[in-house]
């Protein structure tokens, strides 16, 4: 790279000026650039190795607003002292603000220079000490007159005065000043005088229209392409929805049809249709949100309700003995926030006609649980549900679908353990192995729907593979976060991206 060609106008000017003087002031004067522009140009030149920069920060003691005035007019205690020179004086005769008088009283009484003569009105008189002070400048006054100056030049007595004045209102300030020492490097020195030759910077439409073959190639300013550029902030979908779309795509690719549906469901669909006995603990107030008003929803067609009732009470014609209790229709009417999207699978089963079989269905949607929120739990959470309805599917196929799903999610090792759900037999818990952390984690439940679920809903018994896999746990692992609440974070400065 020809370094000279990479220099823009300000760098050229500054480099030229540097040949004369390396004082910042001189550079500013001779280039007619602003301080900011000069410093920026110096930085660029330094990036290119033409200039050596040594930045240092020095702390300076400067005058504050009051300090500037006091340096001119004297400190308030001096003014007060002077007023008392010819005998006792009352407070309102002293040309100081209320606040300054208070401060002065403090300072002068501290030095036993005055006594309070009277209180109504407040008046003062000088003491012998006070008189002695009249013609003597205090350390603070001497110090004040030396300002501004560097903090490191302060002697021990001056440090005391410094502390003293710092504690008062805006007399002095401590400020940090950056100073820059500039020096041409050998490479910089080697560059001869730079001509005023005009290089093309931004490619404007004029540049383009006037560009011809005659224009020598060297007229473009070159860039230091490795130097840093300002960052951009773009907009994105929320990481949760990015992950959901990724997972939806997996099931769509495998030929599954998407299910959608209500979040408020009758207990009938959320529980009873899934053969969950009415006294099962999951139906407790502790676990499920119940709707106050409208408390109840409508039950579906009578025939279906009767089948479900019989399946619970005696097993109906499913070959089961049922739960052996009296099923209560009123309990089934209660509206709840769905506790699992398996309710959509149940509704789908109930809606299928023979032409829909074989069928494969999935959903990725929100569910609700009466929980307080913490690192691992939320009252709203996602579940990835699916069913496969076909006369010939087997337990091995169930493991096959789950294995394929997790393989597509990037987990090579999947294992299955026995589990329990009221609505499946061969109930399975799927676990995946995290290589980096060397451990298995549970990602969700699955199984084959019990005949007590399938036959009442579908009308005939048929193997149905079903699963309800957790979503958040997998996202947490992938994003390497340990608190579930972070997935739901809406901090616009901390956007995350899902990519597998």
């Amino acid at each position: 790279m020809d370094i000279v060609k990479s220099l823009d106008a300000s760098e050229r000017l500054v480099l030229g000026a540097l040949k004369q003087s390396s004082e910042l002031k001189d550079i500013i004067n001779s280039t007619k650039l602003s301080e900011v522009e000069v410093i920026r140009a110096l930085q660029w030149l330094s990036n290119k190795g033409l200039v050596g920069l040594e930045k240092s920060e020095t702390r300076f003691v400067e005058l504050g607003e009051n300090g500037t005035r006091y340096q001119r007019e004297g400190l308030p205690e001096r003014i007060m002292l002077n007023c008392l020179k010819d005998g006792p004086v009352s407070a309102d005769e002293i040309p100081l603000s209320q606040e300054e008088i208070q401060v002065s009283i403090g300072v002068l009484k501290g030095q036993a220079a005055i006594i309070i003569k009277g209180t109504k009105p407040l008046s003062f008189e000088l003491t012998e000490n006070g008189r002695n002070l009249l013609n003597k400048r205090t350390l603070q006054e001497q110090f004040l007159n030396t300002l501004p100056r560097g903090e490191d030049s302060l002697g021990p007595e001056e440090k005391f005065s410094f502390q003293n004045l710092m504690s008062r209102k805006d007399i002095i300030r401590l400020v940090e000043r950056k100073s820059i020492k500039v020096e041409l490097t050998d490479a910089g020195k080697a560059i001869g005088p730079i001509g005023a030759e005009k290089l093309i910077g931004r490619v404007t439409s004029e540049v383009i229209s006037s560009f011809s073959k005659q224009t020598p190639k060297s007229t473009f300013k070159t860039y230091d392409i490795s130097s840093p550029v300002p960052t951009l902030k773009g907009a994105s979908r929320h990481v949760l929805y990015q992950a959901i779309d990724y997972i939806r795509r997996i099931w769509l690719d495998m030929g599954f049809k998407e299910m959608t549906g209500r979040m408020v469901q009758q207990s009938f669909w959320n529980f009873d249709a899934l053969f969950t006995a009415q006294d099962h603990p999951v139906r407790d107030l502790h676990d499920t949100f119940f709707i106050k008003d409208p408390k109840n929803g409508a039950l579906p067609a009578r025939e279906l309700v009767e089948r479900v009732r019989k399946a619970h009470e005696t097993g109906w014609t499913t070959g089961s003995k049922g739960w052996q209790y009296k099923w209560n229709e009123e309990v089934a009417k209660q509206n709840v926030m769905r506790t699992h999207t398996t309710v959509l699978s149940a509704r789908t089963l109930a809606s299928l006609t023979p032409k829909d079989i074989p069928g494969k269905f999935f959903s990725v949607a929100r569910n609700f649980r009466n929980e307080t929120i913490d690192w691992g739990h939320s009252f709203e959470f996602y579940q990835v549900d699916g069913i496969v309805v076909s006369p010939n599917v087997t337990f091995r196929n169930l493991l096959g679908y789950l294995g394929e799903y997790y393989r597509k999610l990037g987990y090579d090792q999947v294992r299955f353990r026995p589990a329990y759900f009221p609505y499946t037999e061969m109930s399975v818990e799927a676990e995946v192995y995290l290589k980096e952390r060397k451990k298995w984690i549970e990602l969700g439940g699955a199984g084959m729907f019990r005949p007590e679920v399938v036959k009442p809903l579908l009308g005939i018994d048929m193997p149905v593979l079903a699963w309800g896999q957790g979503l958040e746990r997998g996202i947490m692992e992938h994003l390497n976060i340990t608190d579930l609440r972070e997935i739901y974070s809406n901090d616009l400065e901390k956007r995350r991206v899902w990519y597998k």
């Binding site: 907009a235 979908r237 929320h238 949760l240 939806r248 690719d253 030929g255 599954f256 049809k257 998407e258 959608t260 209500r262 979040m263 408020v264 006294d279 603990p281 949100f289 119940f290 709707i291 106050k292 008003d293 409208p294 408390k295 929803g297 409508a298 070959g319 089961s320 003995k321 052996q324 209790y325 509206n335 074989p358 494969k360 609700f368 009466n370 929120i373 009252f379 709203e380 496969v388 076909s390 599917v393 087997t394 091995r396 196929n397 493991l399 096959g400 394929e404 299955f416 353990r417 026995p418 589990a419 329990y420 037999e425 061969m426 084959m448 019990r450 809406n490 901090d491 616009l492 400065e493």
Partner: protein, 546 residues
């Protein structure tokens, strides 16, 4: 799900085969119980609610012994007659109609065994007995009882005894108010005129189910050699099964089971009945469901069943078998889930995205193109955020039982959710432009649940130059992308600045609302920048597309 703590040494020696800790862990998990922890003191497992027989040490050892092949097949328990009886008075019929009872003799109890018995009783109470509402279990030192026992219901004020763990006699009502267990479970007897009691032939009260035993006759100690067990409740079959779980545990501890005659007013029965239940099993059905050949007989015996010629004998403590499918699961567990090879079937179906989801994705794509950031908020909210903070009074749908006042109702608009996100980002750089598509809820008699749920899009713009015009540009851009035109109609709405709020109309239908948020609302959310928003119903909009 209940967890139970088992003694490590007892389990290790009880299973009758040397297993390393890792093997033990793995076998326990594959039996279908979640292993919580394993140390030299204890093994803590989580037991699924369908297997109450695994809630104690010996039941657990029994299952594990079979599973690892040490003692396969059906366990036989012999029952001798005790010749003793329990008389059930007609008075219990209205308050607690049934009981099933037995006696177990020859026990050599240690503190550890007593602890296991109490743990079993308590875990069964909590889970299988649904916090004692379905049934309750009483276990008594038989030596202190004079038979026959009477099960009767009496006026609680007229029956006094010293409740277990106390020193002073109290009557039935006093127990409900003064004794801890009485207070915990008193609701189960609330409003009953008469309370149930077990009373022996001397007139000593054994217990007042389902609340508490008496100190005098209801405390099992290491000197107890024989125990009387009763299960009382509302469903006789359920009680018999429950009784079987407990006495099999006691028999495995070394006890000998004795039956009792129960003299009901209308019948006389003998309990317990430990006869296994027979169930037909179609081998072809098993193979078809599993999709793999397995040794059915071997598998069943490893799960404690016996099998011959298509008939399975189910031990009496296995109360979870409702359907042959439950047996198929046990076969699969015995075969080992790890020994089934996953197989993807060839089932040709066409994948299909839900129409509304396709629409939703398109909208998100367009909005991200306008540099709006998508956020994610909850559908569950509360009255304060939905109404108070927004300066309005709309009827919202509340939960009847939320654990937290923060999450106690359903949102009817997504705008408050957007405002909460902006509040959260108040320290961040402006402008902030956000959107989300989510559900809102309101009452509607025409819906099957009485609740209408709509998918809406909320857009909020916040920053010193964000205003009505910008918000309107965005909605117009969206609509133009779908070849739709927009009409606006001014309305009044207390959430917005008057004169800067309107209805959004597409094809004569209202699809939503747009406006600049009123400063009083901004102050409520502690925002110091103006906010312009719109909320549109995606279902209604999608319906306008054709």
């Amino acid at each position: 799900m209940p967890t139970v703590a088992l003694n490590y040494g007892t389990v290790k020696s009880g299973i009758g085969k040397k297993l390393s800790d890792d093997e033990l862990k793995e076998r326990i998990a594959m039996l279908g119980t979640d292993l919580e922890s394993l140390s030299k003191e204890s093994i803590v497992v989580e037991v699924f609610p369908n297997r109450p027989d695994l809630l104690a040490e010996f039941g657990f050892i029994r299952a594990l012994r079979s599973f690892i092949g040490v003692e396969k097949g059906l366990r036989e328990y012999s029952v001798k007659s005790s010749g003793l009886s329990v008389n059930i008075k007609p008075s219990v019929s209205k308050v607690r109609p049934y009981t099933a009872c037995a006696i177990v003799k020859g026990l050599k109890l240690t503190d550890e065994k007593i602890e296991q018995i109490i743990q079993l009783q308590e875990k069964l109470h909590v889970t299988h007995c649904r916090n004692r509402s379905k049934a309750a279990i009483g276990i008594y030192p038989s030596e202190k009882i004079k038979y026959p026992i009477t099960f009767c219901a009496e006026d609680p004020k007229g029956v006094s005894f010293v409740p277990l763990g106390d020193t002073k006699p109290m009557n039935g009502l006093q127990i409900l108010s003064r004794h801890k267990t009485g207070r915990d479970f008193g609701h189960l007897l609330e409003g009953k005129e008469k309370f149930p009691f077990f009373i022996d032939a001397k007139g000593d009260v054994l217990s007042m189910p389902p609340i508490i035993n008496s100190e005098l006759t209801g405390k099992v100690t290491t000197s107890t050699k024989e125990v009387f067990i009763e299960c009382s409740g509302f469903d006789l079959d359920f009680l018999k099964e429950l009784l079987n779980i407990i006495i099999c545990e006691l028999a495995d501890m070394g006890g000998q089971i004795f039956s009792m005659s129960l003299n009901y007013p209308d019948k006389k029965i003998v309990t317990p009945n430990l006869k296994p239940v027979a169930m037909k099993l179609d081998e072809a059905y098993v193979q078809k469901l599993l999709g793999q050949k397995v040794n059915i007989k071997e598998c069943l015996e490893r799960m404690g069943f016996s099998y011959s010629n298509g008939t399975v004998l189910i031990p009496s403590y296995r109360v979870d078998v409702l359907h042959p499918m439950d047996i198929v699961e046990d076969i699969a567990i015995a075969h080992g889930y790890e020994n089934f090879e996953p197989e993807l079937p060839v089932i040709s179906t066409i994948g299909e995205e839900a129409r509304i989801e396709r629409f939703r994705k398109k909208i998100a794509e367009l909005l991200v193109g306008l540099e709006l950031n998508e956020v994610t908020t909850f559908s569950v909210s509360n009255e304060r955020i939905q109404n108070t903070m927004m300066g309005q009074k709309e009827k919202i749908i509340e939960f009847s039982n939320s654990k937290s006042s923060e999450y106690s109702a359903l949102r009817q608009s997504i705008i408050p959710s957007m405002m909460e996100v902006l509040q959260l980002n108040a320290k961040n750089e402006y402008p902030q432009r956000i959107f989300e598509m989510g559900a809102v809820f309101y009452k509607d008699k025409n819906e099957e649940t009485g609740v209408r749920e709509d998918l809406v899009l909320g857009v909020a713009l916040c920053g010193k130059n964000e205003d009505f015009t910008r918000a309107r540009q965005i909605i117009e851009h969206l609509l133009k992308s779908f070849n739709l035109g927009l009409k606006l109609e001014e309305i009044t709405d207390t959430r917005f600045i008057p004169g800067r709020v309107g209805k959004l109309l597409v094809g004569g239908k209202q699809i939503g609302i747009i406006g600049e948020i009123h400063p009083t609302v901004l102050v409520n959310f502690r925002l110091e920048m103006p906010v312009a928003v719109f909320e549109i119903n995606l279902g209604t909009l999608q319906a306008q597309l054709k």
